[in-house]
Structures are given as structure tokens and as C-alpha cells.
């Protein structure tokens, strides 16, 4: 059916507030990625899940960023004590797995635009 969906589409937060961003991947896609896209820049990798396992979180910029995918489907990216530099579009992408390895084609959601005031 549908592609990758994300919610909310827009989020305004006051500095210091916690936020939670949701991603619904394409049904059956085992791999799930989060990327951060600053204004006028390309997406930058944050973290990767295969099913419920978080296999790579090397791109998370600080310990204020936390991601989870408890049932291997929906994922949530949480940012604690938001700072102005966290303002960006947060993109979620999913892909299939073949022979234990994520296929190259990643399908992106529309993103959540976060503005921290």
C-alpha cells in the first residue's frame, strides 16, 4: 500500500522541551533509517534498525537523541531538552532485506519539520 508516513509533519517546540517523532515504514520493510536534513543540506544519517534491533546509532548527534522500534515496525525518534540547533527536517526511510543485507533502495517519508524556538 502506502509509502513511508511520518507524523507530525510540523512541530514547533520551545527550547528545552522534549519531542517525539513517529515513522510508519512500508509494510514488510525490515530496515528503517532516520536521517536529519538541515536547511539547504543533504540528509545525514542518524540511526538504523533491522527489525527491532538498533544496529547503528553512530549518527545521533548527542545523548539527547534516542530512537526505538520496539515491535519492529513503527519507530519513534525522541529528542530530549531540544536546542535551537536541533531545528531541521527529520526523514525516515525504509528498505527491504535480502539475504540478511539491506537492499540499496531506500524509500523516504515526507519528513517532520522541527522548529525549536
Amino acid at each position: 500500500g502506502a509509502g513511508v508516513s511520518q507524523s507530525p509533519r510540523y512541530k514547533v517546540a520551545k527550547r528545552g522541551q522534549d519531542v517525539a517523532l513517529r515513522c510508519d515504514p512500508i509494510s514488510g520493510h525490515v530496515s528503517l533509517f532516520w536521517y536529519q536534513q538541515a536547511l539547504g543540506q543533504g540528509p545525514e544519517f542518524l540511526t538504523y534498525f533491522q527489525n527491532e534491533a538498533q544496529l547503528d546509532k553512530s549518527g545521533l548527534p548527542s545523548d539527547r537523541f534516542f530512537a526505538e522500534r520496539p515491535e519492529g515496525s513503527v519507530s519513534t525518534l525522541k529528542i530530549q531538552r531540544t536546542q535551537q540547533e536541533d531545528s531541521a527536517v527529520y526523514l525516515c526511510a525504509s528498505s527491504l532485506i535480502l539475504s540478511g543485507r539491506a537492499l540499496e533502495t531506500q524509500y523516504f517519508g515526507p519528513g517532520t519539520r522541527l522548529l525549536v524556538l
Partner: protein, 114 residues
């Protein structure tokens, strides 16, 4: 360290013209090179991709040229149309290892004038 360098930052082309966007990479382990198209308010969408065992791939009006020795690849859009106006990102990935994450260039804003 920017692993994928993209140019130009912006490009203006007349309708019917050829748009050319270039990318260069540093990591020789990269072996999958996709191009993504992004419209305002939307997520990136895969346009076309190439692997280094071929020097060129064509899909409709879109062609990727790949130069492995120079570690460069480019996107050519033939007969550019106003509907092609968008931001284009090149990217790279290492299929062989566990480096499944995409590394993107900074993007090229393409404007096609009618």
C-alpha cells in the same frame, strides 16, 4: 570530512536544455551511487542509480555517467522540463560491508525556465 562533493549548488536551465550535475567521492569502498530528487515539502525520491561495473546508465531523459578511475559521477537530464525543477542529491553506499547508510551530497537546486 565530506565524502561526497556535489556541484553546482544551483543551476538554471532553459526548457529543452541539458542539465548536468556532478559529484565526486573519496571512499573507494562506495559501490552504489543513487540520485534522489526532492520537491519542496517532500522526502527524497529515488530517480536513478548506478553500480561501478558500468560507465553509463540511461532511464528515459535521465542518464548517469560514471568514471571509476576519477571517482566521479554525473547526472544528465536531457530535454529539461519545468516539472524537473527540484533539488537533486547524489549519494553513495557501500554494499559490500555493513555500511548500508547513504552518504549524500549537499544538493543542487535546479530551476528549469519555461
Amino acid at each position: 570530512q565530506q565524502q561526497v562533493k556535489q556541484s553546482p549548488q544551483s543551476l538554471i536551465v532553459q526548457k529543452g536544455g541539458i542539465s548536468i550535475i556532478n559529484c565526486a567521492y573519496e571512499n573507494t569502498a562506495f559501490d552504489y551511487f543513487p540520485w534522489y530528487q526532492q520537491f519542496p515539502g517532500k522526502g527524497p525520491a529515488l530517480l536513478i542509480a548506478i553500480r561501478p561495473d558500468v560507465s553509463e546508465k540511461k532511464e528515459g531523459r535521465f542518464t548517469i555517467s560514471f568514471n571509476k578511475s576519477a571517482k566521479q559521477f554525473s547526472l544528465h537530464i536531457m530535454d529539461s522540463q519545468p516539472g524537473d525543477s527540484a533539488t537533486y542529491f547524489c549519494a553513495a553506499n557501500d554494499r559490500g560491508g555493513s555500511n548500508y547508510k547513504l552518504t549524500f551530497g549537499k544538493g543542487t537546486l535546479l530551476t528549469v525556465n519555461p
